[in-house]
Amino acid sequence: MRTPVRMVIEIFRAVRYEILSTFGTLLTVILAMTLPGALWIISENLSKAELDLKTELTMDVFLKEELSRTRIDELKIYLADIEGITDVQYLSRQDALFKMREIFGLEMVSGLDENPLPPSFVLSVAESLHDPTAAEAVVVEIGELPEVEDVVFAGEMLNRLRNILEAIRIIGLIIGILVAFSAIFIVANTVRVAISDRRKAVEIMQLVGATRSYILTPFVSLGGIIGLSGGAMASLLLWYLTKIVSEHIVTASFPRIYDVVAFILTGLLLGMLGALVATKKHLKI
């Protein structure tokens, strides 16, 4: 068995004539892992946005004019009875103005001569109404009420978001698979060169009784180190990019630490796989 120091020396010996190309490989692995990593982060953030939208999803029923208290109560009961409606809130013109002031600030509403906002019912909807077809029937039903001016439902937006998310996941998966194969290939090529440089040493090791694992370990470790460093540096780059996007464009969150660790370990695994492919093909022992 080698000591860890011996192992590091052995790995260094394996690449010392190929330092530049090894760094080139590392850089390629970093870039290769950054692309699916970025899609992964985008997908994670959109999933979060989808969840937020889902929990806050409402159907706004705008009325033509203020209604009497009795009519409001009648309509409240009617609307609450519709399947998929979980809560009904009446928003008078005054309430709507207060809400607008809360969201956009006092300056926005202070310039208005009169309140332009219509009264409305705000309906909370169950998961069953997230399906656009089911929601459409409810929108039509409510829209046919004589007091109703318009019905606005954000379900379509949720649906569009879901489609985008699905597309990003598929593209991410395809790119991820392609990147995995290219990372394996790139690392395999570097390890192949290292094997070729160490051929004489490998032969001598075999002659003195070195086992297969003794001979392979430095090469597999080399692949592992390239993959691990590539994964770690790609994570660092992605963290920095997420920070910039968050500060200047839109709030975005970076994945949790154990997901990042899994991402880095994927790099390690790909690197080791690449090295194993190279040793299997070019190291006949």
Binding site: E203, I204, Q206, G209
Partner: protein, 232 residues
Amino acid sequence: MTPNIQSRNFKAMLRIDNLHKDYGSIHPVLGGITFYIEKGEMVFLTGPSGAGKSTLIRMLYLEEKPSSGRIKLGPFDLNNLSKKKIPMLRRHVGIVFQDFRLIPDRTAAENVALALEVIGKPRREIRKKTQDILRLVGILRKKDLYPHQLSGGEAQRVALARAVVTEPLVILADEPTGNLDDKNSLELFELFKKINIGGSSILIATHEVAMARKYGRRILHLENGGLREEIV
């Protein structure tokens, strides 16, 4: 007097029975040779170039497989040894080559230490044994030099030290003096003799018949696929 190799009391370190090797041509390289080496014996294997000396040596550490026949080296039955067990065999065989086969980017001491490293000896023991063996072959002073900084004779001493340091069952030397001048050849043979006195079994393949005769040891002469023993 040649011992009866079938005898129950006879303990051969290396025993070869009816060994054949051919590469598909009409004349086999080895046409059914039989011999033995006793424990602690030093034997010379002579013969002209192409007689099959190197082929025979290579078969003894399973770099090549025999076409037929049996090889037994200490407890190893080479005919039934799986590929996985070959490293175990080689740990018990010290090999010295004509071209030294030293790792160029390791110092003399590191080249010797490699043989102990692969069998998992502790660091302290590796350091001590390496020093001792380099002292024995008279090259301790140059332990930190790389192979390209050593003369042929010195490089071959390092190779010999590497072969001996693990105290193998048998030391195989394939034309060890092939790249050396007379003075270095003589010194190397003297080292083999010294190591043999220590109890190691040694088989030296050489074309230097005169040198072999000088040592008064058993000489096995290989020619035209056959083996004859020269009584010294």
